[in-house]
């Protein structure tokens, strides 16, 4: 018989690592596929210049653990198409702004393409039944698989025994009896299985690379969409950086929280209004909603916000230098120095997103 091949969705987390191991242990050839959605936590950390306490760089969990456990890996960039999905999910959003159902369906669709290209027989997923409320219950699983056109083709080794048999199980490509029947959020069986299968290191807590499930990110996203009516890709990336403020005029202000973010924001200064202290402290960029220059009042307010995060004099004052964006060819460029003064905390909190 021809060698059985499978394509596995791989996040680098413990569940998908175990799922691949269970399938490999039945002599099946597995290609791990990791999707880059554009909402990757590692990418954001790298962009900000963040490092681990031991000085090494954060690594994409899929790449890290595929290398460690010897999985064949393909990283697929789906960020362009994915941006459309998160803007307009057919099945709505989960608890935060993660379009779980649409996202999973899209990944299965892509996995199916890869499966066909590779001449593979089925798809493997590390999903566990009812583990999370939104996408992982049976009904949602069915919708997702129907939507993606992969019904009966997705084997979930961690919960297989409590799920209806799939085509690969019925055809005997994979032995159902050697798979697991895990249900629920307890990680006990997974940890035991990790020991049995020689998985001695994994992401803690369970991996994943997506910040759409992050509450803070979701709050800023919803705020931006409700005020601006739309969101650009650049806006989205900026949601992962800095402290965010919205002035009464609708102008968005982003202030750095650390040196890494400072460098990142500084790198964007040509595209935005840019504020930096003459002295030590945070830097900021600002963008009015409409295509117009900042008003004098806004410049003053932003300088005050920046002063809050700078080493000021005893009166809470510091000089702040500002420049207009360079990309705007129609309006005259503007720059100057303004005395910023720490605002009242209540005022600041009013603006904070």
């Amino acid at each position: 018989m021809k060698k059985i091949k499978a394509v596995a969705l791989y996040s680098g987390g413990l569940d998908s690592t175990l799922a691949i191991k269970l399938v490999q242990n039945q002599g099946i050839d597995v290609l791990a596929v990791h999707f880059y959605t554009g909402f990757c936590i590692t990418e954001t950390k790298r962009r900000r210049g963040e490092k681990k306490p031991d000085g090494t760089h954060y690594m994409n969990p899929a790449l890290k653990y595929a290398a460690k456990y010897g999985f064949k890996l393909e990283i697929v960039d789906i960020s362009d198409e994915y941006f459309d999905i998160i803007q307009n999910p057919k099945y709505g959003y989960g608890a935060n702004i993660n379009p779980c159902i649409d996202c999973r369906a899209f990944m299965y669709k892509k996995a199916k393409e890869i499966m066909e290209r590779e001449g593979a027989h089925f798809i493997v997923s590390g999903e566990v039944l009812n583990q999370r409320p939104m996408s992982q219950h049976l009904k949602a699983m069915k919708i997702i698989e129907r939507e993606a056109g992969v019904e009966g083709l997705v084997v979930k080794p961690l919960s297989a025994k409590v799920l209806p048999p799939t085509i690969p199980e019925e055809k005997g490509w994979i032995d159902r009896n050697k798979l697991e029947g895990i249900v629920g959020r307890s990680r006990k069986r997974q940890l035991q299985l990790a020991k049995e299968l020689g998985i001695d290191e994994f992401e803690q807590p369970a991996g994943g690379c997506c910040y759409l499930t992050d509450e803070n990110f979701a709050r800023k996203y919803k705020e931006a969409v409700s005020i601006q009516g739309f969101i650009t890709r650049d806006d989205l990336y900026l949601l992962t950086v800095g402290r965010h403020f919205r002035l009464d005029t609708g102008t968005k202000v982003i202030v750095s929280r650390n040196e890494g973010e400072g460098n990142f924001i500084k790198g964007l200064r040509k595209n935005y209004w840019y504020f930096e202290p003459i002295g030590k402290g945070a830097v900021a960029i600002a963008k009015p909603i409409e295509d117009r220059p900042l008003t004098e009042e806004e410049i003053k307010q932003i300088a005050n916000i920046v002063a809050r995060y700078c080493k000021t004099d005893e009166e809470g004052k510091i000089n702040i230098k500002y420049t207009s964006p360079e990309t705007d060819l129609l309006t005259e460029s503007k720059e100057g120095i303004i005395l910023g003064k720490k605002p009242e905390e209540t005022l600041l909190e009013n603006w904070r997103i």
């Binding site: 791990a32 990418e43 760089h57 690594m59 994409n60 790449l63 290398a67 010897g70 890996l73 990283i75």
Partner: protein, 84 residues
């Protein structure tokens, strides 16, 4: 066997500077697909983490990591395609 990185003549060069993990890797993967067996791909990147990523990627794909050097703040990686 040590490879003299200054004497490598890459068959394909790709610039992934300005991008961060995992983009340098997805770009490398695309270029490697175009390359033929035995050809050497040169990848430019400025995400320092790529120093960990490129060898790891080579491990997961079975391609040969020849090494990297730093030139004017840009990291230059060399990867040899070992299979079709």
């Amino acid at each position: 066997m040590a490879v003299d990185l200054n004497n490598i003549k890459p068959d394909i060069t790709h610039d992934a500077t300005g991008t961060f993990c995992p983009i340098p890797i997805t770009e490398l993967a695309k270029v490697m697909k175009q390359a033929k067996k035995g050809q050497v791909v040169e990848l430019l990147a400025d995400d320092e983490g790529a120093i960990q990523d490129v060898p790891a990627w080579c491990e997961t794909t079975g391609n040969e990591f020849l090494g990297y050097k730093e030139e004017d703040g840009v990291l230059v990686f060399y990867v040899k395609k070992t299979q079709d």
